[in-house]
Amino acid sequence: MARVEIYTEACKSCSYCVISCPKKTLEISEKVNSKGYLYAEQVRPEDCIGCMMCAQICPDAAIEVWR
């Protein structure tokens, strides 16, 4: 099974990963990091295929992928 890990402190809530995930596993959460950004979260990890699209697009290098 594939999964992503999000370095939430670096996330700036741009949503690029959310719109780029072909399986729609990511969403902007209601949680806030220390910079005040609502950070992205993987809400449907069971659907993740490890394609790395989210990690490629993330400007802030906040996403790492395992598979």
Partner: protein
């Protein structure tokens, strides 16, 4: 079940546990990431030297892990010339925005390209001055509002957008010229490939290369991150089409027998 493997890691080209100073959705961050990845893939992180322009790109000094210096505004091409000539084995790149490279630094930019200096230029074109507060840049689109053209750029008064790749493509010496973007994962991958190729050419001593990255500036465009992607695709790509302008390496590989 096969053992789990990490397939995408944060590059060592940017500092660990560090948040970039760039705005949300700003592709300066993306380009810093892929420059690090390209150098890492080539095993050149320890050999990488960055010459930084002035403007938003200056925020990169707190973010990258390589050796670097900051040139006076616009003069990165001249400083990189000195560094590369005195340390020819270093992998040298300039990192410059449109205000730096295409306005105040136009002379240094064109002179270095015209001499065919053996370094790589990474040019960030977001059509506006970022850090100084959203003023008109040479690359601002006709009709586009900036703080110094509140009614929009007027061609009669402010001239037309400057096409750097097209201008450099008129010179004899440059080896590789490509315009890329970072608005989709596919474009990010292509942009990284272009930067890696430019670095490879430099390591082979083939001469000057420039990679222009057409990017967004959500903050100074006054758009949210996702709307800025639409503006980028609809307006910026229309003025600044993506693609390879020149690739001498490919020409020689493709038709070694045909034209000289």
């Amino acid at each position: 079940m096969a053992e789990e493997r990490k397939v995408y890691s944060r590059t060592k080209g940017i500092l660990p546990d560090t948040v970039s100073g760039f705005c949300p959705g700003c592709m300066h961050s993306t380009v810093h990431k892929i420059v690090g990845e390209a150098a890492e893939e080539l095993g050149q992180l320890d050999n990488l030297v960055r010459v930084e322009g002035v403007g938003c790109c200056g925020l990169g000094q707190f973010y990258v892990s390589c050796d670097e210096t900051i040139a006076a505004h616009g003069r990165a091409g001249a400083v990189a010339t000195g560094i590369k000539r005195s340390s020819p084995n270093s992998l040298v790149y300039t990192y410059q925005g449109d205000g730096d490279l295409a306005a105040i630094g136009l002379a240094e930019t064109l002179s270095a390209a015209n001499r065919g200096e053996n370094f790589t230029v990474i040019f960030i074109n977001n059509g506006i001055y970022g850090m100084t507060g959203g003023q008109l840049a040479p690359t601002t689109l006709v009709g586009m509002k900036s703080t110094t053209t509140p009614l929009g750029r007027k061609a009669e008064e402010h001239g037309y957008p400057l096409h750097i790749c097209e201008i450099i493509n008129q010179l004899t010496a440059p080896y590789y010229i490509e315009r890329v973007s970072c608005d989709t994962p596919q474009h990010v991958i292509a942009a990284r490939k272009a930067i890696k190729k430019a670095f490879q050419y430099q390591l082979e001593g083939r001469g000057y290369s420039i990679i222009e990255v057409v990017t967004s500036c959500p903050t100074n465009w006054g758009l949210d991150t996702l709307s800025s992607l639409n503006f980028l695709r609809e307006k910026m790509f229309a003025e600044y089409p993506l693609g390879v302008f020149r690739d001498r390496g490919k020409e020689t590989a493709d038709d070694s027998s045909a034209k000289v």
